[in-house]
C-alpha cells in the first residue's frame, strides 16, 4: 500500500501540494485527475523521491519511502513518462532492457535482449523495432516502448504519467487497453495521472481528484458520476462554471 500523509510541496511562493492525503491499496489501479499545474506529477515524483516533499510522510508497504536501500526501493517501480523519456542514444531494445543490462537485476546481454523483444511483443510491437532508435518511432510507438520499459523488470508498482497525451483517440484507446491488461495480468499496483476522462474510465479502479494542492474527492470509479462533489462534477463535465476557476 502506498500512503501519502499531509504532503506539502512548494516552489518559491507557488504552493503546489498543501497537505495531500492519499492511500493506494496494493493491486489496485488509482487514477489521479485534476487540471494542469495542480501538482499531480509532483505527487508522483515525491513518491519516487525525484522531488523531496517539504513536509509530510510517504510510505510504501509501511516503510518510509525516503529511507532504506534506494536501489531496492526503485527496483519495485516501473514508470511510463509523459513524453516516453526514451534514451536517444540507445536502440529500442536497450531502452526496454535498460534495467536488465546493469545494476542488481543485470542479466546476460542475449537474455536481456530476448526479454526486451518479448516485452515489445507484449505491447504490440514487432521484433524489428528492437534495433531502431527512439528518433525513428512515431508517438504511439514511443509510448508503447516506454510501456515495455516500464514493465520489463516486472515491477510491483507501475506509474503512468499522462499515458495518452498527444495520441489520437484510437491509439489512446489501444494504450488504455494495454495498460489495463498489463496491470491486471501482472497484479501490479498502478497509479496513473491524466486528465483524459476516457482513460480514467478505462484504467481506474479508484480515482482521486486533486485541486488546490489537496485531494477533493476519492472513491471507486463507479461512484464518480454520482459523487456530488462540485469539483469532480465540474471536471468530469468539462464546465467553465464551478468552483474550479477557469482562466479565459
Amino acid at each position: 500500500m502506498i500512503k501519502m500523509k499531509d504532503v506539502h510541496k512548494s516552489f518559491g511562493s507557488n504552493h503546489v501540494l498543501r497537505g495531500l492525503d492519499l492511500n493506494i491499496e496494493t493491486g489496485t489501479s488509482m487514477v489521479i485527475i485534476g487540471g494542469s499545474g495542480t501538482g499531480k506529477s509532483i505527487a508522483l515524483k515525491c513518491i519516487l523521491g525525484l522531488v523531496k516533499q517539504d513536509k509530510g510522510t510517504i510510505s510504501v508497504d509501511g516503510k518510509d519511502a525516503a529511507s532504506g536501500d534506494r536501489d531496492a526501493f526503485l527496483a519495485r517501480f516501473g514508470m511510463l513518462f509523459q513524453g516516453g523519456a526514451l534514451f536517444d542514444s540507445l536502440p529500442v531494445w536497450q531502452n526496454v532492457a535498460f534495467r536488465l543490462l546493469r545494476g542488481s537485476l543485470k542479466r546476460p546481454r542475449d537474455e536481456a535482449r530476448e526479454i526486451a523483444i518479448e516485452k515489445l511483443r507484449r505491447v504490440g510491437l514487432k521484433p524489428d523495432v528492437a534495433d531502431r532508435f527512439p528518433a525513428e518511432l512515431s508517438g504511439g510507438m514511443a509510448k508503447r516502448v516506454g510501456l515495455a520499459r516500464a514493465i520489463a523488470a516486472e515491477p510491483e508498482i507501475i506509474f503512468f504519467d499522462e499515458p495518452t497525451t498527444g495520441l489520437d483517440p484510437i491509439m489512446s484507446g489501444v494504450i488504455n487497453e494495454l495498460i489495463r491488461e498489463i496491470v491486471v495480468e501482472m497484479g501490479a499496483t498502478a497509479m496513473t495521472i491524466t486528465h483524459d476522462m476516457t482513460s480514467v474510465r478505462a484504467i481506474a479502479d479508484n480515482i482521486a481528484m486533486l485541486h488546490d494542492g489537496v485531494i477533493q474527492w476519492t472513491g471507486p470509479v463507479a461512484q464518480m458520476d454520482a459523487s456530488g462533489n462540485p469539483y469532480l462534477d465540474q471536471f468530469i463535465q468539462g464546465k467553465a462554471e464551478g468552483p474550479i476557476e477557469a482562466v479565459r
Partner: protein, 258 residues
C-alpha cells in the same frame, strides 16, 4: 531605480554561489569516480567522442597556429636580427602555451557545448528522471564517464596538437622562410625540456576536466525548454573557456616556479 552597489553585490554573490555549486559538483563527480558501479560502455563512447572525433579540429587549429606563430616570430625577430630563434620559440610557444590552450578552447567549443546540450535535453525530456527510476545514478552514468574520458584523452589531444603545431611552424619555416629542415628539427628537439612536455600534458588533463565538468554541470542544471537548453549550452562554453584560461594562468605560474 536600482542601487548600483546592490546590483554589483548581487552579481558578485551570484558568481560566488555558482563557483561554489560547480566546486561541489566537481567533488561529487570525483567521489563517484572512486565508487562502483562503473559504466564502461559509456566511458568508451565518451573517449571516442571527446578524443578521436576531436582530432580533425585539433589538428587543423594546431597546424595553422604553428604556421602563423612561425611567421610572427620571424617578422618580430628580424627587427633585431634574431630570425634564427624561430624553431625554439615556436616549440616553446606551442608546447608550453598555445598547444594546450588552443586544444582546451577547441574542446570547450566542441565537447562542452555538445555535453551541455545533450544532458540539458535529457533533463527537459525527463530522461534524467527516467534514469533515476531505473536505479541509475545520473552522476555515475552521465558525468563520471565524460569527465574521466576528458581527463585522460585531452592530454593525448594536446600531445597531438603540440606535434602538429610544431609541424605547422616547421612547414612554414622550411617552405617559405628558408630554414634548413634538419636544422629546424634538431633545434626544436634540443631546445625542449621534459618539464615543457610535462607542463603541456598536465594542463591538458586540467583543461579536459574543466571542459567536461562544465558541460555536465550546466547540462544537469539546464532550465526548461529550448531556451533553457540554449542558455545552459552558452553558459557551459563561457564557463569552460574562462576556467581553462584561469587554470592556464595558475598552472603556468606553478610550472614557472619549478
Amino acid at each position: 531605480m536600482t542601487n548600483p552597489l546592490a546590483l554589483i553585490g548581487r552579481t558578485v554573490l551570484t558568481v560566488l554561489a555558482t563557483i561554489g555549486r560547480i566546486a561541489i559538483f566537481g567533488f561529487e563527480t570525483i567521489s563517484h569516480m572512486l565508487r562502483p558501479p562503473f559504466y564502461g560502455r559509456e566511458f568508451l563512447s565518451a573517449l571516442l567522442n571527446i578524443g578521436w572525433l576531436s582530432l580533425p579540429v585539433v589538428g587543423l587549429t594546431a597546424v595553422f597556429t604553428g604556421g602563423a606563430l612561425a611567421l610572427q616570430i620571424y617578422a618580430g625577430g628580424s627587427r633585431f636580427n634574431a630570425e634564427a630563434v624561430v624553431p625554439q620559440i615556436v616549440a616553446i610557444g606551442i608546447v608550453r602555451e598555445l598547444g594546450p590552450v588552443m586544444v582546451g578552447l577547441m574542446i570547450a567549443a566542441r565537447v562542452t557545448s555538445s555535453i551541455a546540450a545533450e544532458i540539458g535535453t535529457m533533463k527537459v525530456t525527463e530522461q534524467i528522471d527516467a534514469l533515476i527510476t531505473l536505479s541509475t545514478h545520473p552522476m555515475k552514468y552521465l558525468a563520471v564517464p565524460r569527465v574521466l574520458a576528458g581527463v585522460l584523452v585531452v592530454p593525448v589531444l594536446v600531445a597531438v596538437g603540440d606535434i602538429v603545431g610544431v609541424f605547422g611552424g616547421y612547414a612554414v619555416a622550411t617552405g617559405t622562410l628558408g630554414f634548413n629542415p634538419a636544422g629546424y628539427i634538431r633545434n626544436t628537439v634540443d631546445f625542449l625540456e621534459p618539464l615543457d612536455l610535462i607542463s603541456s600534458l598536465t594542463k591538458g588533463a586540467f583543461f579536459g576536466f574543466a571542459a567536461t565538468l562544465m558541460g555536465c554541470y550546466y547540462g544537469m542544471h539546464s532550465g526548461r525548454g529550448a531556451m533553457g537548453v540554449g542558455r545552459a549550452t552558452k553558459s557551459s562554453v563561457e564557463g569552460a573557456a574562462v576556467l581553462i584560461l584561469a587554470a592556464n594562468f595558475l598552472l603556468t605560474g606553478v610550472f614557472f616556479s619549478l
